[in-house]
Symmetry: C2
Subunit: 115 residues, 2 copies
DNA sequence: TTGATCGTGCGACTATTGTCGAACTATTAT
DNA sequence: ATAATAGTTCGACAATAGTCGCACGATCAA
């Protein structure tokens, strides 16, 4: 058999806060993480159906290298999942808090000035 | 009298999550926010005593424009404070969670492999 | 008023980032 | 084997970010 595609991931202890925050500071990537938190492991293409493949690879690679997601090859596709446990161990509550803020960001806070 | 220095700050509702995360993703700025959380309002120079002034202005300006800090002129100095209430209203727990992770990041978790 | 001090704005430079097409490799189906 | 498909890598490009010297305006002390 041929060497299947492999992916390098940082160890849990090596996940660094600034890099994680940077990864989450990009609207596209933040939306990806939102989807991953909602749906668990998904096919990479679901994270950006309209994006050029090379752009998608770029963002998933950045999320992987910063320790936010885990990537595994599945046939010719690749599956992406949040490193929920590692992130919770290292920065408890961070992802939850950020995603809560993400919702607040474009959810007009029902009954405030909602249209 | 002359027009005292004024600073533009985004309204609370206009504070955007990605910008906040980006502001916090820079180690220097993260350290600044850490100090602000600990000490309240401080003289800007305390946030980076060794930095060139123009570099310091750059970072405080970015923190201000992203809605993380409030800046006011005090004589010829300028005082910086965290916009704690605004941030808590918009992204509850975010700053606390991030700073908790910041501590975990360079505090070797006493008794682990601490030298 | 004069001079010292502090922050700001500008400009230059370098490094990083995001976007994307094109060529390449791996995997699957026929 | 051959063709089709999915992801990766590379290179180019524009945009953005970080650093810092320098000149300028504001502020305060004498």
């Amino acid at each position: 058999m041929s060497p299947a595609r492999t992916y390098v991931h940082p160890d849990r202890e090596d996940i660094a806060l600034p890099r994680v925050l940077f990864a989450l500071s990009e609207p596209l990537r933040l939306a990806m993480v939102r989807k991953l938190a909602d749906e668990g492991e998904v096919d990479s293409v679901e994270l950006g159906p309209d994006l050029p493949r090379s752009t998608l690879t770029h963002h998933t690679g950045l999320l992987r290298e910063s320790g936010v997601v885990f990537v595994r090859a599945q046939g010719r596709k690749c599956m992406i999942s949040l490193r929920t446990e590692d992130l919770a161990a290292r920065f408890p509550g961070l992802v939850e808090t950020v995603l809560a803020g993400y919702d607040a960001d474009d959810a007009p806070a029902a009954g405030e000035d909602a249209k």
